[in-house]
Amino acid sequence: MSIEFGELRLSRALPAPPARVYAAFSDVAEKDAWFGDEGEQIREHTLEFRVGGEEHLSGVMPDGRPYRFDACVYDLIDGQRIVYGYDLHVSGRRISVSLATIELAETDAGTELTWSESGAFLDGLDAPEWRVMGTNGLLDRLGGAVAAHAPVE
């Protein structure tokens, strides 16, 4: 029985305006396009994008293990900020509990996104460095997803 505490803060310049990036979080179909690892199979994804609303995603990781992501939205500022808490289960065991804050700021080139998380990683089943890796992967995919929708100038 153990808890390892960890925090991360990652920033990305994204080639789309904040409203576009925000929609990639608020719309379940748009979020499906990037939220998850390459090769993962999403089986079910529901999202009530409002304060107090919940998000549930379950699927199978590339190595075959089933996982589940269950989140609760705590704070929203349209186009600017998203705060949610979530836990992750793998093979039926809770591996971590996290608090995530996404901040969006408009720039000349689009959006500066800052992703801050703190996590309680449980029983050696999850680890802060894996979360950094995973979140960087998500940001890569998010960047690709919003670039694909960027208006042609």
Binding site: Q80, V97, S118, A120
Partner: protein, 156 residues
Amino acid sequence: MNTTFGSFTVERTVPAAPARVFAAFADDSEKQAWFQGPPGFVSKAPRTFDFRIGGEEFNAVGLPDGPAHVFRARYYDIVPNERIVYTYEMYDGDTRSSVSLATIELGADADGTRLVITESGVFFGDPAEAESRREGTEFLADAIVTHFAGAVASAH
């Protein structure tokens, strides 16, 4: 929009066994004995307490003629007598001032229980809120120690 982040750890030795300390968090009436605002605070709204994974806790306290200080928690992980993982929001009146991830770890030691509370929060508005969270948690940790120290004293 002003967003800041802060984290801290508060540790205490509590003069009671881990199972007793756990009950002080898990049992509604036991928790009410120590989980209170500063002197003079009164309840501003009906409280709720649902200590189970996925359950929520709510209370609102404040000075009789002052704003409500609201606490709303959601329990994510509970291992009896060992740990509790939860998030909580604080509000000043209707305004959300922070959201925190908190863990409570209990370990047996020679004097009773080693209590370790770790929190990491996001703060909206006044950056001083991060420090006031720490002060609030220190205050509550002291209240737990006093609660059990009193029980030890009255048993003798």
